[in-house]
């Protein structure tokens, strides 16, 4: 398999990108493709481990050594088939996954890990180019109908799986197009929307019915769901965490998602009712140091903001693994995203105490303070205190709150269905089971597990689909990440 000594001979490389000044001119993806030769070289680094920790680290259970090997041998169709056997949407995860597989890669113990995510993306794109990625409609129908509520990654994955075993699948989406966060959360410069359209088109060819602008419990009565044999709730975790400090109500203080969604709609030429939120010419303050924050940074720069600052409450993370986060765990390291490369001042151990407005109620600044963190014996931050005398005011006309999400929206659908919620406000169902307290209603993705990665959403959608199939048919021939299909 692969090249036995590849890991000793070759270094990890990632594809080149457009220079920041170039890519800031538009919302297009800016990462170039590998040459076939480079791709082969990168795949050759895979050691085909006895215990492939990558395969374990991947929430989907992608069989990474095997697709690396197929890529090394130039067997694209095999590579795509292996990848598709665990992942319905490698073209999404190949672009936007934080790649826990790479953190778990054995090469990472003392070298740099295999460029798994890039290889994955290339497998998917080459599959589309060469025509392997195509609709595979099934002829044998079960006569069972399933409704999937929410066309985000979890819903799409569940639908894609359920249609494979011959169920009739209808996906309800409250927005105008399917994709959920993929479409309206993630900016185009990371995931262009034709990538989603291309996939949705295949799913439609396979028979999935998409009903957009259809919010069950609002403009579609929950009653309608009664005609289905099973319902899968995949509405996501949509209620953002708020920052309840003085001045929150000022014009110019927004949730990140309001800002990002509007821009995505603008690019995608969809309409929206809300007032424009634009960073153009403004001092932008992004509160929250995660990926959404980063997306706000990149979008603000593209809108030609005057300055962009990003705040994080926690201290600056280390650049390398420490004892508390040994391989193969996913480490909390300092991460410099492509958006950071494009221009942004980053602050850690900092807290925003108040927003300051002008007399028209518009945001003009923020009152901030430095924090001092206490750590435990292992060096983990546990407690903070404000640094006396560090209070100061900074100018800002747009503040974007990117501090994560709390739980799904309870009003409407969930209340009408009467599903039980867990302590965190998510829909209650066990992992590996996905069944809510209401008969024939299942739940998957962020709506169940709370906010998480796209790759987790896909995984939940797939696993939930198997449970739904079992529920409907008594047994399921769908694969799961931990077991092969049973036919007994």
């Amino acid at each position: 398999m692969g090249k036995v000594t590849g890991f000793k001979e070759f270094e990890r490389k990632l594809p080149t990108k457009d220079a920041p000044q170039e890519r800031l001119k538009n919302y297009k993806e800016f990462v170039h493709s590998f040459s076939e030769e480079e791709l082969n070289t990168q795949a050759a680094r895979c050691m085909n481990c006895g215990i492939p920790f990558c395969h374990s680290g991947c929430p989907l259970g992608n069989v990474i050594p095997e697709f690396n090997d197929a890529v090394y041998d130039g067997k694209w169709e095999d590579a795509f088939e292996i990848l598709s056997s665990t992942n319905n949407f490698p073209e999404f995860t190949g672009r936007i996954c934080p790649a826990p597989c790479e953190s778990a890669c054995v090469l990472g113990i003392n070298r740099s890990p295999v460029a798994i995510e890039e290889i994955e993306k290339h497998i998917a794109e080459i599959a589309y180019q060469k025509g392997f990625a195509k609709a595979k409609p099934v002829t044998l129908k079960t006569g069972k109908a399933v409704a999937v509520i929410g066309a985000g990654p979890a819903g799409l994955a569940a639908a894609a799986q359920l249609i494979k075993v011959g169920h009739e699948v209808t996906v309800y989406e409250r927005d105008d197009k399917p994709g959920g966060l993929l479409r309206y959360g993630i900016p185009d410069f990371k995931l262009e929307k034709w990538v989603i359209d291309r996939r949705v088109e295949l799913m439609k060819q396979e028979g999935v019915i998409f009903k957009c602008n259809a919010e069950v419990g609002v403009n579609v009565p929950a009653e309608e769901l009664k005609s289905f044999d099973a319902v899968v709730l995949t509405g996501g975790s949509t209620i953002p965490r708020n920052l309840n400090i003085p001045g929150r109500e000022l014009n110019g203080v927004h949730f990140a998602m309001e800002f990002l969604k509007q821009q995505n709609k603008r690019v995608g030429e969809s309409t929206y009712q809300e007032e424009d939120i634009l960073a153009t010419g403004k001092n932008v303050l992004v509160i929250g140091g995660g990926d959404t924050g980063s997306d706000c940074v990149g979008t603000s720069n593209r809108q030609d903001a005057k300055t962009v600052a990003q705040f994080e409450l926690m201290p600056k993370p280390p650049g390398q693994r420490t004892e508390t986060m040994p391989w193969p765990l996913y480490p909390m390291l300092l991460k410099t995203t492509s958006s950071h490369e494009e221009g942004c001042e980053r602050f850690w151990s900092i807290s925003t105490k108040a927003f300051i407005g002008d007399d028209k109620g518009n945001l003009k600044g923020a009152l901030i303070v430095d924090l001092a963190w206490e750590t435990d014996t292992m060096g983990r931050p546990v407690k903070f205190a404000e640094v006396p005398g560090s209070e100061r005011e900074i100018p800002c006309e747009l503040a974007l709150l990117a501090m994560g999400f709390l739980h799904p929206q309870h009003e409407g659908l969930l209340k009408q269905l009467g599903v039980e919620l867990d302590a965190r406000g998510n829909v209650n169902a066990k992992e590996g089971n996905y069944k809510t307290t209401v008969d024939n209603v299942f739940v998957a993705g962020d709506m169940r597990r709370g906010q998480s990665l796209v790759v987790w959403a896909i995984s939940e959608g797939r696993e939930c689909a198997k449970k739904v199939d079992e529920y409907l048919m008594g047994a399921s021939t769908l694969e799961s990440k931990d077991s092969i299909a049973e036919y007994a």
Partner: protein, 1504 residues
Amino acid sequence: MTVEDMEEQGLYRSDFEHDACGVGFVAHLKGLKSHRQVQDALTMLENMEHRGACGCDEESGDGAGIMIQIPHEFLWEECSKLDIMLGEPGYYGVGMTFLPKDKVLNEKCIDLIKDAARQLNLNFLGIRNVPVTPDGVGVTALSAEPFIIQFFLERPKGIRNTADFDRKLFVLRRLLVKKVKEELPEVNEQFYIPSLSSTTVIYKGQLTTYQVRSYFSDLSDERVMSAFGLVHSRFSTNTFPSWKLAQPFRVVAHNGEINTLTGNLNRFYAGLRSISSPYFSDEELEILLPVVDPGLSDSASLDNVVELLLHSGRSLPHVMLMLVPEAWDGNSSMDPLRKAFYEYHATIMEPWDGPAALCFTNGSTIGAMLDRNGLRPLRYAVTNDDRVVVASEAGALPIDEQTIIKKGRQQPGKIFLVDMEKGEILSDADIKHELASKQPYGDWLEQYKINIKDLADPRVTFTYLSKESVFKYQQTFGYSREDVEGILIPMALDGKEPIGSMGTDVPLAVLSEHPQHLSSYFKQYFAQVTNPPIDPIRERLVMSLSTFIGNSGNILDEDKMHCHCVALEHPIVTSRDLEKLRSIDTGIFQAKTLQTYFKADGRSGSLEDGLARLCRYAEDAVRDGFEVLILSDRAIDSQHAAIPSLLAVSAVHHHLIKTGYRGAVGLVVEAGDVWEVHHFACLLAFGATAINPYMALASIRTLKEEGVIDTTLTWPELSKNYVKAICGGLLKIFSKMGISTLQSYNGAQIFEVLGIHKDVVDKYFCGAVSRIGGLGLDDIAREVLSKHHRGFNSEKKTSLLPEGGLYQWRRRGEAHLFNPSTVHLLQQACRTGDYDVYKQYASHINNQKERMYTLRGLFDFAKHRSPISIEEVEPAENIMKRFATGAMSFGSISHEAHSTLAIAMNRIGGKSNTGEGGEDEMRYKVLPNGDSMRSAIKQIASARFGVTSHYLTQADELQIKMAQGAKPGEGGQLPGHKVDEWIARVRHATPGVGLISPPPHHDIYSIEDLKQLIFDLKNANREARINVKLVSKAGVGTIAAGVAKAHADVILIAGYDGGTGASPISSIKHAGLPWELGLAEAQQTLVKNQLRSRVVLQTDGQLKTGRDLAIAALLGAEEWGVATAALVAGGCIMMRKCHLNTCPVGVATQDPELRKLFTGKPEDIVYLFRFLAEELREIMASLGFKTINDMVGRTQFLKVREDINHWKVNKLDLSGILYAPQNPSGKSLYQTESQDHGMDMILDWGMLKQAGKALEGRTPVFGTFHVKNTDRTIGTLLSNEVSKIYGSEGLPDNTINFKFIGSAGQSFGAFAAKGLSFELAGEANDYVGKGLSGAQLSIYPVGDSQLVPHENIIIGNVALYGATSGHLFVCGQAGERFAVRNSGATTVVEGVGDHGCEYMTGGRALILGETGRNFAAGMSGGIAWVYDINGTFKDRCNLEMVDLDPLDAEDETQITNLLKRHINLTNSTSATNILSNWKNERSLFIKVFPKEYKRVLQAKLVEA
């Protein structure tokens, strides 16, 4: 206690027993009877006492006996006193008989004998009670002592010769066996007739060799005269008293074992339906059947078959050559006449295969022979007063050297016969020529043998499978991606079975959630201790894959139609050849195809119905006259699933055996579920004659057509490679059991079934061992259907096969105990010293509720009392002293990893193990911080790398590796590119030259050999414990008992699943058993046998947690080995790439760049062992044990878990493992006594005294000693003293100069250190100069000997085995395997047997005479020069690894110097003649130059 009492309790089975022995005879060439022959034979027997054994009770032997001619004068007089009137010699028969002591039963038996005699019209003359003197016989033996009588029968008038009379007596004996069984079943075990003959009588019993003479006073009576005495001393692994198992038997005395007994017997029974003979009436035949009674020992069974064949008209040598043929297949230089004889007989009788030295007689002819491998010693001498002495050891009967006119050793496959009537010795060549000329065997073969390539093209062409069908069938038969990528493709590309590393940690088949291949429930047997495995590569010449399909006919008859069958070179049939076979029609020879399917309805009984139908059809087909049955699973569909081919073939095989038709047909399997070597081996072992793996071949074709295999090779070439890989793999599987030929392997069933219900086994795999129950037929069907439905599911969702995950972890694949979580948690725990993290790790391993992996996972602790506080439990420091790390060599793992383990173990007082690669002396020095890198355990493995006197001296424990878990029964190979300067130095090898480890220890072919090696090692370091490492398998308990009797101090029972080195992947998974079974069996057998308190029991094999240790302790282990977990603690992440040298964390690699990446610290390892001990202590506290000793063997503290609810696992019966045997002696269940190594009286003590000055001040000393064959291991203890003081440097040459006169026992000069200079005037037995470490040995005949040295044997087999330095000069010939694995000694010898200089890696060998066959096999280094006076050498040399070159100037100098020295030391006339005529003689020398070695030397020359 009787044998029946002990049957099938716990894990012990009486069939597991083995014996090995000393054997020999003394005969008068002209048949002159004298009492002296009897006395001499008894003396010889006594001098082989050390080849026998005794059990717990020193006075109870394993059995000994003597066969002599009927002492007519003596009996006539004795009987007269009893009013019994005997006739002339030959006119009466004597029945030596064991009867019960009970008076009533005794009389019943006698009545029975009389009845039976009457029935056969034989006149009963009377009974004589045989006088016995039981004084001194041990209690165990006495507990089963029989009442011994002789009864006498008159020869009826109508019978004209002794042969006919003896035939009649043979029928009578068989009749008696039957009558006793039917009419007196209560005495079945106690009634036995050692001999019933008109010519010979046997005195034997469960005695030691010394007791035979005193027990039977008859033997000391001067009137007891015989022309010969044939004796046998038994060393058995058996545990219970048994008088009848003593030898000799009626015709043969056998030192060896028949590995293929089940197959031989089944085939024998299978032929009985067609049996007929002019020598027996039908009624008599009816009485004789089944000829061999079940439950006899292998030797006894062989004897029974020999008797039958002998009485039905064949001569004694004819019978022996039929049953134990020499290696003929592939021997191109064999006389065609002889070859035809063997080939003809191969069509009716397969070899009874296994190491064998056989002595046999019919009363007037007496002879001896060795099997094809010659793995048992047999030496002979002929004197000028017409006496012939044959014995396992030279010098066993002291004879005046002056009278000896010929000395020799029996050679592999050769026979030797003394015709006492004609008064001549018949040579091997004469005997064979005469037999081969008796019938036109060659013409018969020419006319009737069918060669498949000569057959017409098939009537129909084979079914072509499309790509889609191939995929469907692959799914149906359970192929995984690993099977395709990891097995099929490598085999098709390279023609070899792929290699893997790091053992296996997946669940047993019966515990797996994944549907299994049926053969995964079958575990391969392998040879260990009682017989050696063979090297299928270097000793290919003795092996054969040829087979015959068709009717095997009436074995009592010589019919030309016997050979009218299809001859195959190997059992793998291509699809095209199968079609030829299907359409074969010679007029009297046709084939029938039977479909092996069952209804895929999932109903109970469907599979059973399918099998019943198949058996019915098969029987009908045989009745209808078909010669070949093809069992095909091609015709399956969605409603009809394939019967697993293994089940189908075994069911038909056994059904036909039961109905008596099996002998009439060949069974050919056409199956889709056959692709890896193990599958083939199972089929062949359970009855298949030939196999067509059509799916594997079609898969390879598709892979090639689809471009998945990227190669320029064509499909036929790939298929050929695949078949080659299978054939190579099969040879390896046979050879690991010590079996040489496919014919013998066929039907031999040498597997243990693990996880199939007894009902299924008894019905369809009759006779196979299955001890823990398991799946029924419906469960097997369920597993089949799960795969079947995958293939026949109507909607195709994927073109991917399942991942597999057996060899590498896969999330959706098979579960592994070492997986991402456990590896991570263990490393985290050991790096941070966090016991809580360790406990998380341990709970992942220990909690097998959700998923089961191991047998121990199915156990729970049974709490019989309240817990104690943990403070009361002995401290972890004590417990840690009981830990050892596994045997991993420096070479397999890096210096960094190896020394880290050693330091850690030394810190905790445990023991690390060198593995088989020697040890760098720098590690003997203590480091400045007080740490030590010295490994306490020094391993002695088959290659003996770096095993010197000094190495042995530097040990606390010496471990003899009989087998290793990952590949029991196999050797290994370290390729040249891995042998760097350092490794080469430590292993005494040449950098860049590859190193081969032979499969067997060449000084251990039997249990008595092991006893000898233990004795050698004890001499080499008497402070060290001797540890014998065994691998768990059915019967390991009886082997352990034997090993305990051989005086091992420690016995290690290793699980099959361990192993860090590289192994063929089928061996990793399919050979050997989990340690739970082996350990429990060993404990039970040792306790029953009252041997447990004498040995320490240790276990290893994937031990990972304190719970594992606790269970091991309760099952009987007081010490534990941990290897894989220790490596993981040190940074191993289970790459399983050890064999590729690419370990990315620097553990299992020699790549300097990668070695730098090793980050493990001794502290990490110490944490692991501390955690293990702490967890164990917690368990001890909870069970109320204060010490480990209290805990050992207390199986009542274990129970089977009650919460198991699994359709497969619920059917297991684990009670055998938890069985606690009675402990009659009340001795401890752990080691409390030390072994008596019997070293008080050895010669070396005297030598030591004389060497005082040399040891103290290097002052030269001189001395002379008389020796005999019981003086063994001379100079080894002395060398140990030298090494203690002077280290590896030793003393200056010629400091200790001792002369010995006489016949030296085994291991003369073993591990003799530098400074010793020994000369031996006389002769020596096996293992001269074994492990020679710098000494000089010279051996020459005594001055008054009449023998021509270079024509006579003077030293035995396996001289210079593993020698590292020193000199050996031998004026005379040496036996087999001279200088095997020599890596540095220089030697001169005047002729050698087969396999000379095998595996040699260094040193110089000058051979001034003929060599045997297969010279230089596997020789990778050193140089041999051979004086090829007859020009035969080239044919006898194995040219695979060596070149034959002319001498260069440098060679000439070296040779002439050696000749001068040889003359000086031994006064050799041959050497003198050569040297005086050097100019002419030098051209007759051939230089044997290993290619690799030459290349390295030349490269060095260029560098310089």
